[in-house]
């Protein structure tokens, strides 16, 4: 038995899967410089932060390990590699994957945060090298890019053949693309659009914007086709949707079950499902589907049994976005006595404004369909779009007592809207909103103790509100 077997077994690998993957696992661990002590630490970290007794939790952790293996070995596997950046435009990786099995399309930073961060708790050495290679600390630069640049510089992840870079959500996408080109000669497929839409406009958006944005995406596809010599198949979008839709349906079922009172499972693992389908189009998604089916059943059993991880009647919060590199943050919120009944990330693909459904037949290209879908998602439309979409999620989520709205010092789009969005949500929902600085990609950028003071205080506020409401009813 190898020193790493215990971690992979903990993360749902069967003996057969372990043997099949063994040589690949060993290559990956060597590139990550992960030794026996790191494995011991990872096992303790996983046991302390996840409900590892649940098979669905084990499998989603396994799915991220598979995603990590396939990312690190993509070049060894002879794949044509395409990276895309945040915002991860929902769809291109699947369209590429459904057009050619030779393509490996992924968001490497998201995979590293969810695997090396959430499971191994060992992002630090990668982040430090990233800071030496393009994103120096203290400059307010994107933590995701720090991870990506660090992993490239350390030779952990392969240099891609082409990278998709967008500029409409944040300037880091395009500037980071410049850096990739400068450092590694990577061909960059730029996708431009603007977030400068009037306050109050969302969910409406002009069809001219969709046409411009769609043409940018189509151009990027063309450049990718030419660079890696593939042809996007006409039915690729449809095939992609056949994979994505059932997955999203299960994510929705799980979210609905978790919103039960008492909260039946901890949310650390739940938060890993939506990123799993946006981060890559590899076989990890099949594992993710298996994990979802298992966890939906296990959660349903807990709901039926009335089992809760926080006391029944605990204040219920809607969080903007969970932490994708440190499972301890959502656990800390739950330990403060808050039921995390919903998160924007798990609901935003499901909740759409009424009367604004996207009909692919209305658009003339794949790019336009993706563009319209992205803009309807709110977050990538405008600051107001983010706030209003959040409000729609609030309306959809059952009985929310408070909102935790995280923003990140290292993420300008989230930082700039932190106060306006808080004000908007407070005024439109009437529930207290905690504006909480954190960094979902890099835990070195927030003070856990100071964060706990805020969350505990917020929990006490919400508990007092509930007591007062109950007293007034009696």
């Amino acid at each position: 038995m190898a020193y790493y077997d215990k971690l992979f077994k903990l993360c749902s690998f069967t003996p057969e899967e372990l043997e099949t993957e063994r040589s690949r696992i060993e290559k990956v661990l060597a590139r990550l410089e992960i030794g026996p002590e790191d494995i011991d630490h990872a096992c303790e970290h996983v046991k302390a932060n996840f409900e590892i007794e649940l098979k669905g939790v084990q499998r989603i952790l396994g799915s991220w390990l598979i995603a990590l293996i396939d990312l690190v070995l993509a070049k060894d596997d002879g794949k044509k590699i395409v990276y895309f950046d945040f915002p991860a435009i929902f769809g291109p990786q699947w369209i590429l994957k459904c057009s050619s099995d030779d393509v490996y399309a992924a968001s490497p930073d998201t995979i590293l945060c969810n695997s090396v961060g959430q499971i191994f708790d060992k992002l630090g050495p990668i982040q430090e090298v990233g800071e030496l290679n393009g994103t120096p600390p203290g400059h307010g630069l994107c933590s995701l890019w720090t991870v990506k640049l660090g992993a490239l510089a350390k030779g952990i992840v392969p240099v891609p053949d082409v990278a998709l870079a967008s500029s409409y959500f944040c300037d880091m996408g395009s500037k980071g693309g410049d850096l990739l080109n400068e450092l590694y000669g990577v061909t960059i497929a730029h996708v431009d659009n603007t977030m400068d839409f009037p306050w109050g406009e969302y969910p409406h958006f002009s069809q001219e914007s969709v046409k411009f944005f769609g043409s940018e995406i189509d151009e990027a596809f063309k450049l990718i086709e030419d660079t890696i010599d593939i042809k996007i198949k006409p039915d690729a979008m449809m095939k992609a949707m056949e994979i994505i839709m059932p997955y999203q349906e299960l994510v929705g079922q799980l979210a609905e079950l978790i919103s039960s009172d008492p909260q039946p499972i901890r949310t650390a693992a739940q938060n890993m499902f939506t990123p799993a389908i946006t981060a890559s189009a590899g076989r990890s998604v099949q594992w993710g589907m298996q994990a979802l089916r298992l966890l939906v059943e296990e959660t349903r059993a807990r709901v039926d049994a009335g089992f809760g991880v926080v006391p029944k009647g605990s204040p219920r919060v809607l969080v903007f976005v969970p932490n994708f590199s440190d499972p301890g943050i959502s656990r800390m919120m739950e330990d403060c006595g808050l039921a995390i009944s919903a998160s924007y990330v798990n609901y935003y693909p499901i909740v759409q404004p009424k009367g604004y459904e996207i009909n692919p037949a209305d658009y003339s290209s794949v790019g336009e369909v993706i563009a319209a879908t992205e803009m309807l998602n709110g977050m990538f439309h405008s600051t107001f779009g983010t706030a209003e979409k959040f409000r729609l999620v609030y309306e959809f989520a059952p009985e929310v007592d408070g909102i935790i709205l995280q923003y990140f010092y290292h993420c300008r789009p989230s930082g700039i809207g932190s106060h306006t969005n808080r004000k908007y949500l407070q005024e439109t929902t009437g529930v207290p909103v905690l504006s909480l600085e954190s960094d979902i990609w890099d835990s070195r950028n927030h003070n856990a103790e100071s964060m706990r003071v805020r969350v505990e205080t917020f929990a006490e506020m919400l508990k007092a509100n509930k007591r007062a409401k109950k007293a007034s009813c009696e």
């Binding site: 010092y409 504006s435 600085e437 927030h446 003070n447 100071s450 003071v453 006490e460 506020m461 007092a464």
Partner: protein
């Protein structure tokens, strides 16, 4: 001794405070000491001293509530975050309080208080130490002044300097540079207070500064900071006689209410 007695202990980054109360919320004793190296030891030490001063023994206490960053280190105590305790402490002395400005050793908070002493909104500094007690201690160190001397001297400021940087570390460089250019010490200290007040005003704008405003924490002893805050906010600010113990007082009051 008979009756219901409680204790509150506030373990902060710089000082640890304890208050013992009777059932009518009369303060029987209070103790303030430097936190030092061991938060667990200092928590027990200040409670013991406060109990002793009140003529009680530990067994006389109905409950102990701990607060501050070391709140989980006191065995047997119920831990409550300091924002809740500061609001309750201020409300106990001033039932018409609506805003608490608390500046401690390592953080600063603006707390909105409602009619029953509950918190209904708050803001707290994030990673930046500018606007905290540590910032003022650092400035005092530059001029080799005690905190009291610094407070008194800053009141003589008529044209406070612009301290553009509110980063505690870079402000030191800036102050040293301005001093080398011949700026008067009192104007530099006035500038520090002005910068601190600006930072607090910005931080609290989403919470608001409703009257009555109570200023608590060790920095509330600094009359220059209070003056700068009053000028910035254009509002009167009240400093209670012993502003440092407000968190411990609130903790002791919450201990009276049990779980």
């Amino acid at each position: 001794m008979t009756g219901v007695f409680t204790a509150g202990v506030d373990i902060g980054s710089a000082t640890t405070k304890a208050v013992v109360l009777d059932a009518e919320k009369n303060i029987l004793s209070s103790v303030v000491k430097s936190t030092g190296k061991s938060v667990a030891d200092i928590g027990v030490a200040v409670i013991d001293e406060a109990i002793s001063q009140a003529g009680l023994v530990m067994a006389d206490l109905y409950q102990v509530v701990s607060t501050g960053y070391g709140r989980y280190s006191v065995e047997g105590a119920r831990a409550i975050p300091e924002i809740i305790c500061h609001a309750m402490g201020a409300y106990t002395l001033f039932p018409d309080v609506r805003t608490v400005i608390d500046i401690g050793g390592q953080d600063s908070k603006i707390i909105s208080v409602i009619e029953d002493g509950q918190v209904n909104d708050f803001a707290m500094n994030d990673k930046c130490a500018a606007g905290t007690g540590r910032y003022l201690e650092m400035v005092a160190g530059i001029f080799d002044l005690s905190l009291t001397e610094m407070s008194n001297l800053s009141l003589n400021s008529r044209n406070p300097c612009d301290i553009s940087s509110t980063c505690a570390v870079f402000a030191e460089t800036e102050i040293i540079g301005l001093r080398a250019r011949g700026e008067k010490v009192e104007e530099l200290l006035g500038g520090v207070n002005k910068a601190l007040a600006y930072r607090l005003a910005i931080m609290g704008q989403s919470v608001g500064f409703r009257d009555k405003i109570i200023f608590t924490g060790g920095v509330a002893y600094n009359r220059g900071v209070r003056k700068a805050l009053e000028e910035r906010l254009k509002k009167d600010i009240l400093v209670p006689p012993n502003p440092q113990i407000m968190g411990a007082l609130g903790a002791a009051v919450l201990a009276l209410y049990g779980q």
